[in-house]
Symmetry: C2
């Protein structure tokens, strides 16, 4: 098992990663993700929504006019799962679903004013923590943080991520 990679000469500190070091990283991801979702979760608890609603709202905000299919591929859930979430958001007037002009089968999704307000509350809360963490760790660390996360993604998701990243930058 493992760690049999004591590379042949040179760059030892670069290449030799003990199981212990890796395990720390794994546990760090576990605990950090809990913090990452904690603040939006608290807001959503009061309303009738959950994390699934947050994700939908986030990416509709991020990609205004996106189709349901596109959202499905970003979120990686089934259309039935997403539909349940979207239905409640549409019913509650947070999301608007417009029939496509070019292709009328498609529905283009937008946040309403009300939806945008909730989105702002959620992402503000999440950004407060993120900003504090970035500042505490420093710019060098932030760059490393993003590099490792990016390298950890599945190739498909990395492509999705990079498309979003460029689009927004």
């Amino acid at each position: 098992m493992s760690t049999g990679n004591a590379g042949p000469g040179g760059g030892e500190s670069l290449l030799f990663l003990t199981d212990e070091q890796l395990r720390k990283g794994i546990e760090a991801m576990f605990f950090a993700y809990r913090g990452f979702t904690a603040d939006p979760d608290r807001i959503l608890d009061g309303l009738d929504y959950g994390r699934a609603h947050h994700r939908a709202i986030h990416f509709i905000h991020r990609c205004p006019g996106t189709t349901v299919n596109n959202l499905l591929s970003i979120l990686g859930v089934t259309k039935q799962s997403l539909n349940r979430v979207l239905r409640s958001l549409i019913e509650d007037g947070l999301v608007e679903s417009r029939v496509g002009r070019v292709d009328k089968r498609e529905r283009h999704l937008h946040l309403t004013e009300k939806g945008a307000t909730l989105e702002r509350a959620l992402s503000d809360a999440q950004r407060v923590r993120m900003r504090a963490a970035y500042r505490a760790a420093g710019p060098q660390a932030v760059q490393g943080f993003r590099q490792v996360l990016e390298a950890m993604m599945d190739p498909d998701l990395r492509r999705q991520y990079q498309t979003l990243k460029e689009g927004g930058a």
Copy 2:
């Protein structure tokens, strides 16, 4: 590492964090966490277990002889939730529950051989990805990665994490 380094661009890059920059970090966490759990999930899919079983197995392996209460505080779930998971692991002979010698109310949890075998399979899979990501990003980045994650945790969880970190190192 001295991350207090104001950086080549001056203080601006340290203190001024745009919403865009923070949003990229948020999305990176979202996509990376999917990758992070993907490999163990694939293994667990074949068996009758899920992510909750994985977490229990991980921390029992990590803290052999831990009590149920201690595990509860690490995992942050209710005892009913954990009990459902533990019961199936004990029934299937992956986990052993020993009555405490000093305090007979306590149950001390250990992995059996069978449990340790599954643990190894799961963590090997997860480490493969982690190792690849670490190598791709480089040691500098890894340090930053861990710093930001640590800063992102809730204080309580950070304490838990650090206790584990020391214990294992």
